[in-house]
Point group: C2
Chain length 374, copies 2
Amino acid sequence: MQSSAYAHRLHSLLSPSPSRTQIRNPTRIRMSLRDDGPSVAIVGATGAVGQEFLSVLSDRDFPYRSIKLLASRRSAGKVQTFEDRSYKIEELTAESFDGVDIALFSAGGSISKEFGPIAVEKGSVVVDNSSAFRMDPGVPLVIPEVNPEAMGHIGLGKGKGALIANPNCSTIICLMAATPLHRYAKVLRMVVSTYQAASGAGAAAMEELELQTREVLDGKEPTCKIFKQQYAFNLFSHNAPVLSNGYNEEEMKLVKETQKIWNDKDVKVTATCIRVPVMRAHAESVNLQFEKPLDEDTARQILNGAAGVVVIDDRASNSFPTPLQVSNKDDVAVGRIRQDLSQDGNYGLDIFVCGDQIRKGAALNAVQIAEKLL
Amino acid sequence: MQSSAYAHRLHSLLSPSPSRTQIRNPTRIRMSLRDDGPSVAIVGATGAVGQEFLSVLSDRDFPYRSIKLLASRRSAGKVQTFEDRSYKIEELTAESFDGVDIALFSAGGSISKEFGPIAVEKGSVVVDNSSAFRMDPGVPLVIPEVNPEAMGHIGLGKGKGALIANPNCSTIICLMAATPLHRYAKVLRMVVSTYQAASGAGAAAMEELELQTREVLDGKEPTCKIFKQQYAFNLFSHNAPVLSNGYNEEEMKLVKETQKIWNDKDVKVTATCIRVPVMRAHAESVNLQFEKPLDEDTARQILNGAAGVVVIDDRASNSFPTPLQVSNKDDVAVGRIRQDLSQDGNYGLDIFVCGDQIRKGAALNAVQIAEKLL
């Protein structure tokens, strides 16, 4: 729980004061236990995303009959307070899923691969935040605002389990802004450059960024454990393994997941994924090429009306989205909406998107999927 | 001089230890006064770039008969030690350029506009680091490795002055890597996203980033003077004014300067310029579309042989350019060289480029122009 306490402390240090932001705050309504709610299990409950699952469930008044917090043996036995009740963290085993309706997984790909099918076998609907099943043709990959129809007939109380995959954070944040435009004018090609926060590599990476920053400011050598090189006051190509085509796995997720979510094998995507010394929200510079003209005013109008999207695009005051503005917020912010000068007619747009990596990029999206099941 | 001392101290804090980098270090040879050298004036001598002019002149053993340090009245009278000699900073006036062969300007656009023509009138060749004359059709805009021919017959000892403009930092860094490829396969379109350092906004911006970082880590409200919003652990759209087409001035420099330097009005460029919390080196994600196929192996070979460029592109060890690696270095580093999946055939490449903003992005490039005059 130390990492999570850390992440929360850091949030208070690094998030803007309320008066500075125009993003909608998530409504905080105390939820209560409900007999008619599903039984929920959280796998990886002590991690950054696991903790955010709890925040989001509470923020959104998600109904539940019971909640079970699962983690590795190392964390088992610790006590977590949630909505004024104390829960003992339980060790994840094959028996953990008996009677569980919804299992929210965020404990890494290998845990998902091992325990996801077991949970399904026991009748749970698994919403998996790892990359383990995302490209599995039988598993829906869902952003609720984008492709809820992909969930098909998956539901609760049908006596059988199912797997639903949560897309990668950078895909979710990009497609939250690109999809409303895609629906209007069909995206043919997308060139994405990311500015990714520490949180994508977990709470330990956030701690490392803070520690290194203190060290560098004190004139000391930075401690490099999570990343092999200095992160403070620096940036570097995403640490995911690089494939033989020269793309790293993070970039290929953007390419492949976009094609799957849009159900469009022909959409062309290229991406360059970079880690920047920011705590918990990603930014993305997105260049779009459309099948038919889409002028910037129409684009702004479309985005203004899009669910889960807020437009911050004031040229006169140079006010555009920043990672800090969206930190701990639900909405993805989009700005710098402009006609691409390098494309003829109105066939191209440039936009700049920011979204909270832990929230909409992971926990919130998963909980929204769970809400669709109710 | 405080800012400069600051920048140097911060350099020692924030630059990597020599063993960590594979970039060539500039050769440091003590130069001496030479009777046959030109007389040199530095306008804006106390600024970050002005101070870097001195470092670069010394590093490169630039011959000079005399050197004159010019600044505003506020700094006049201060003493600067340079190569074991003491120089009094002089106030910039119309008389400052009497007998000056080469004047290196970096004191902002309005100073250049006022005093550049005066210096030319007095017979000086002005190398101007501001944007004042860059788009003037009569003024060459020069990156010595890219378009030295644009300098035409400008030279010293011809009894008449001239103006040469130094391109903007992000243009220089981008084109150092893109031009060798452009020469081979002609770039038709370029999509650039930048990751720009504090130094581009001057030494005071670097100080603000450090101060804010300390404040945020101490749980205090960050002091915002240079920038209107929190910079520490954040990033934001470049602070240059935004034009009616939605691009900011920094982005339009990349568009327009590329067309001028390549002498190609038809090359299509779009750019999104973002400031990231890094001290003094820029990074750029560059997507290229060519007129004819260019495979990534050929591209790597071309870049390996390009002057002023170093290739850092080791996929197995995930070693690619970072701002820290190129800080205080002459070479621009390029990596992530890969065939763009979103373009058919071998007509597209993605690359990632890093270069020191103060050095190759400003002072070094200007001194290299001055060297061409000798």
